[in-house]
Symmetry: C4
Subunit: 494 residues, 4 copies
């Protein structure tokens, strides 16, 4: 009857409008694409925020790194830049020499250093360097007789070396058989004046330096390692001529980002909700008029994947920006979480832009191909992944003892992955050369078969998949475009 | 009527002749392919010009580079070739030692150097070396108390160290807390005698050497850098036995190149103009006889893209050769602009040769495939570019502080680009190893996803595009060849 | 007749059941997939075994490697980590210096070493270091006159250097013209205390160190090499506070692995046997009712390839685990064989998992494509292999004398293989640069042609094969799935 | 008529037999495949010859290389293996020091060297070392005044330093302004005793060592280079216990190779001749019976390409083996020519084996695909080559002065080629970093565009070609196999 047909026709128009893209909506009902404009604005300010964040980080990281280098050159005896992972001592006298060297350099620091390093002061005097030994509580080892007697509890001995104790000669005696490690802790302060030239306020840095003599392997080799923990504070008292960027200007941008993301979040959630409601309507409508239930895949058509992407990206951005405000006001320090949140959201934001390219028909083919090929690619990756896993375990077990790159499981994974895309294969082959003949032969078999299998067989199969998907999509595209709307709804109305 | 049909037939023949290639024109009306011959001649002399330019540059660059190396070895204390980016000092005494070393070496230069280096003379004596300090006007920094007082204006202090001042002991005192940099300027002269053996006239070189002690980071590390500015002049007075290539012989070639390019430019502009005129005729004709307007894409058919290419290339060559004449006569020195102009034009000239291969049918398929695939490739690159941009920003922000290769945005771009084509992936993975666990995990996810996505997914899609385009072109080629002329014009006449 | 048709129908059902996968069997007759569950259990405990084996190896290998490094630093004069393959001496005095250095270091070892190294004791005193010379029995060489007189039999001279002989000055005199090598043997003991922290019992290590002065090349260069043979024993007497993982716990896991693999082996052999019996039945049945013989390819259908794979893998695992028990109880030492057996079996086990993915139809395409492409790939590899072989021989002969990477046949193989997948090509080109012009030219031709041929031509052909196979499989798949069972059997019954 | 038809039928059978492969011939007329068996025998002995040649070369090259290393360590002051291309001096005193060091080391050689080096004797005494200076005849250079006066003729001054002249102190004085180079020539002798252990007779080696102080660049840097020319002779007088491989045994193999190749050459030439004769017959026959001429492409069908390949390969092998006999009898020394001849022939021999695989139908597809794709590939390479050439010239001109890898044209070619197959791109990008901004920008554009264009666009096009060719061949193969013989001949008889 007519009433019904009017209802059907009305609902049909509603559905059609729902599945239109912004341009079409504007043409159809003149609705301005507010959401689209908001997204573009959002991308602009997020990019600005990111760049300013990145640049200020760069300055901070450079200062931190250069100080680490300076401390290594100041405190480590005969340190050379190139041999950083080979910096170790092998004899008792060398250990004592290195420790005394550190102490002497620390006392004379003010006469040596070219930078503006200062001691941390506490109750008048400066905080002394602290020498901390770790050793087994009790151990009596005579490898010559194959006997040992060990109590694996670890004791600590702490010797603070302040002004007084240093004026008398320090007398260290280490029991190397029980020794696990010697740590020397220093605290120094510095001001990052470099930022003055970029019109940014200088910060005060607290460096907690740990020099570790690591004997945990008990192999006769004591590795020496210098680490540098940094705390960044606002300076207590300052006086600078000239104008500087205020901290609140930076906060302003962060706030704007949060507001923009919040608005975009609200709008997207609204769209998703209205989509869900329409879907419920549609299901009910369909049930009433035709008595059949709607399949799940058809129901999912009402949830726009792009909105989900935007919602996730906005949530990440808001969390990241909130953290960033905390960091900038020196309340929080978990810098890494903040950068990961902002970084991940950036990828999503830029991927989201592809959606707008998809409004043009020719771009759409590309996006559809990727979407259609996705399940096959995942399936394919599963199979390839299983063989890959087998190779990883095998390489670790068999070649681990003979090859640097196969020492740990994650190194194996990385090495094999690099081999697939054609990197570093010669050096991987080469490093195995002078070993045990049977293992050498196995390694050749292993590497040749792995590379052939993954670099050729699977790459080819991959290309076959994508090429095939592309052809299918292309053929069905003219059809699909016309049929698409019909496919999901119009069958309802006939 | 007959008159009309004669006009139509005449115009048709005109059009056909216009769209013929040189061989066909020769066969049709016996017109000698002057333009073709001019192009071939042009390529020959441009190549000759380029090779002679390149060879003379090579000689000059080698001399410059070797002198830079010599100066580094002469003036920098304990300099070693391999550690060039790690050449830095960390203590106050080292700074003074290095400065005094430079001064002593400069004074004794004539007894030391093996080459023919001379001091620049001025008013009887030689120009002294100049020591120039930069420091903040006023600064009072005590990092121990977290307080500072700084005036970011930079003052300069210049100390010329001439014969007299050197006979007395030089007494330097640097205020390291305020110090930004110490620059030492030397001027030396040399003659590039090496060219004598190639029968080219030797030139006189003025070296302005700057040794910079860079403390701008205020981190306690002073980087030392030696730079070498070169001025090349004709020597004032010379006397050489034997015959030498005259400078005007080189100028002759440049002039020939300019003339050839100018002629080719004129001819191409004429062809483009006649094409445009014919197009106007055609539009009018079409309008008169059929009353329809001609579409833009059809109008563009009259402008031969190859002519545009030649015009651009010729313009670049003429500009480059003119600059080169200026350089050879020692009037101009912007060598880089000249080489970029000539270099860019060379690529275009050689690409232009492909046109002549296109006259053979089989080659044409290749060119047509590339042209047909171009829009799709661009579209595809847009989408890929967006994701790439997202990854770049994300990598910079998150991994920048932990990984050398992600320190600046342009480094990130280069690193990711190298990963796509399968280079340096293992070392990229490896350098991240010993960091903060969360960031380490993120970096693995980031790298594995990036490489899989770009190196497999997009490469496959690319291959799918091109393969598809090639098949399309191949199928339609037999057809196309016959239809082509018809397609654009003959429909007019039926 | 009916009797016959019942027999046929019965046999037909039997066959159908035989060719079902576990899921279908469960659905058809409710048979629980015991075999499948056993396989999953097996994979779990094998993985656990492998990981624990790998981790304990890692600890052992680290200790061994670090000790090797320690011995090199202790006994080799002026040893530096980076130049390991260039550690050699060239003058007589250097040889004596190095030998005396080793002796002095060995005597003072206890005062020097930071680790817990002890001398091996024997009858009260420690085992002395042994100096062993090898020289030609008789040789009289005067290269100045082009004459020599040599007896190629090798004599050995052994000098044990114990406490007494060392108290007097050691007087060595080597006849360098006859000398082939000087070997110095040391024995040291150590205990790997590191494992205590991982709650694993420490083992006692016997290091047999060989320092070789290798003059076999008689070229004036004596290479010095330190090798380190390790024997691992349980310590004789120990006393440790705290609880430790017992050795029998590890043996338990190994035993479980052996039991699981044995059961899986039995089940698979049973299945293969029943398959063979069914095949015999089928052949007889076919012969009786139709009078035709069954083709071999049809007979092979009854042997499931996956079972063969599992049988091989189980056999390897059982052998490997048995060996591992032997190693853990310190009875056996052939660690490499054990790890190769376990490693190879792991790859097979994980490849075997793909079988279960093949039960899903979509995954099956992938597996079928690989199987179908296999013969073509092998054929293709044969042809490519022949050309590869030609290039290998040619490279070895011509470039061997001029290029490090072409020195031996296996290096050539590895180098060319790396070039195919796009690695290290620039450095391969570069290292040839400054040689003999004709060979240089040949090397360019050789490398350009090889890379073009293999990296482009053959990769493309490979992709063509796989793409083609995939398309064929995909098209025939819908068909195949239905026809498969019919194809092999049903033709019998119509 | 019948007579004609008998002639036709007879000729037809002749033709068919001619186009059969060996297996078919054997089946048809029982002709044993002598040629095939000869080829197999030939491959076996050629491989044996090659391997023995390679192994003996390896021994010789090792001895030569090790001696070079020894001489560098003995005669060059403070020489270190790693810095070979940076071994240079920069001050006058260093030059004198290095020269005196060489002289002192040479005199004391017998006390220093560990190997069996002897002086070359002549008339009782040993040949002295010779010091040879090269300098411009007359030069008066004052770079301070920009004036010079030079006579580019080169004079030589030779100073032999024999026993007497060395007992007095050598007094050198070099005029560095005129100096081009100082060469020191030494002659030493040695015997390669290493071969004794492989039961090969030792040879006597004459080393002519040249130590060059190269000041040709006149830049203040004198490069020091040690080169080593070797003459290999049979020793005059020897006495070795034990049995040794005789030289004539090696000559036996070479002779066998020459004989086998000669026979194969004769047989192939005969086949080619008979093919040509048949073709002439065929042409005449065709002309007589049908009055039409035979096309050239049809005539070429009678010349079997594989025979041409074998003829070329045999010629190369014979030439190479003849040379090798000359080398082994110490008459000739042009070792490089010999190895290139043998090497090139090996590739051809192995490629020739593919022919026999082509007798199996499935392999044939592969070979036919390659053959069919060849013209397209060549055409494609022409176009790509033109663009490549443009990039090479452009890179050389613009980036040459700023980038090591673009210094000379052949380096550019190699670098770009490596970039195409995905090698070394990051380091190529990286090395350009710190230069002039405009050139830096150009280099980015240059590299990104080059890599994108060649690594993606052209690879894809290549794959498209091959895939397409493969499909074409595959489709037409069933047809082709049957039609092939008909196609070329049977049309004659209908």
């Amino acid at each position: 009857n007519t009433c019904d047909s009017i209802v059907v026709e009305d609902f049909r128009r509603k559905l059609k409008y729902f599945f239109m893209n912004p341009c079409e909506k504007y043409r159809a009902r003149g609705r301005k694409p507010w959401k689209l404009m908001l997204q573009i604005l959002k991308i602009a300010i997020i990019t600005f925020q990111l760049v300013s964040f990145g640049l200020s980080n760069q300055m901070m990281v450079t200062f931190k790194d250069e100080n680490l280098m300076v401390f290594k050159h100041l405190f480590l005896k005969e340190y050379q830049d190139q041999r950083v992972d080979r910096y170790a001592v092998y004899t008792k006298t060398d250990v004592y020499d290195h420790i005394y060297y550190i102490i002497r350099r620390f006392i004379n620091l003010q006469n040596l250093t070219v930078g503006n390093h200062g001691y941390e002061t506490m109750q008048g005097g400066y905080i002394p360097l602290i020498l901390c030994q770790e050793f087994y509580r009790n151990s009596n080892i005579s490898p010559g007789n194959d006997t040992f007697n060990i109590d694996p509890h670890v004791d600590k001995g702490i010797t603070p070396l302040d002004d007084n104790s240093l004026s008398k000669d320090v007398n260290l005696s280490l029991d190397f058989k029980r020794l696990l490690s010697v740590n020397i802790y220093l605290t120094l302060k510095a001001i990052n004046l470099q930022t003055v030239r970029h019109h940014v306020f200088p910060d005060c840095y607290d460096f907690t330096i740990t020099i570790e003599f690591d004997n945990r392997a008990c192999s006769g080799r004591i590795k020496i390692n210098l680490e540098n923990d940094v705390g960044i504070n606002e300076c207590k008292d300052w006086n600078v001529a000239g104008t500087f960027m205020k901290n609140n200007q930076l906060l302003l941008i962060d706030s704007m980002v949060i507001i923009a993301c919040f608005m975009s979040l609200i709008l997207c959630i609204r769209s998703v909700c209205s989509g869900t409601q329409l879907q419920l309507h549609y299901t009910a409508f369909f049930h009433t008029y035709y008595g059949k239930t709607v399949s799940w895949s058809e129901r999912w058509e009402f949830v726009n994947g792009w909105y989900i992407l935007i919602i996730v990206s906005d949530t990440l951005t808001i969390a990241g920006s909130a953290l960033k405000i905390g960091i900038q006001t020196k309340d929080l320090t978990n810098y890494d979480v903040c950068s990961i949140l902002l970084g991940a959201s950036t990828i999503l934001v830029w991927v989201g832009v592809i959606r707008y390219l998809g409004f043009f028909q020719k771009y759409n083919i590309l996006i559809l191909t990727l979407r259609a090929a996705f399940p096959n690619v995942i399936r394919f990756s599963c199979c390839a992944g299983l063989i890959y896993l087998g190779y990883c375990f095998c390489g670790w077990i068999v070649l681990g003892p003979y090859h640097e790159k196969f020492r740990t499981l994650d190194k194996v994974t990385e090495c094999l992955f690099s081999l697939i895309i054609g990197d570093d294969s010669y050096s991987t082959f080469k490093k195995m050369r002078e070993k045990n003949y049977m293992v050498w032969l196995f390694s050749r078999l292993y590497l040749y078969s792995f590379i052939s299998l993954f670099s050729y067989m699977l790459l080819s199969l991959f290309i076959a998949f994508i090429t095939d998907t592309y052809e299918t999509i292309k053929v069905s595209f003219a059809l699909q475009l016309k049929v698409w709307l019909k496919n999901s709804h119009s069958q309802v109305f006939h």
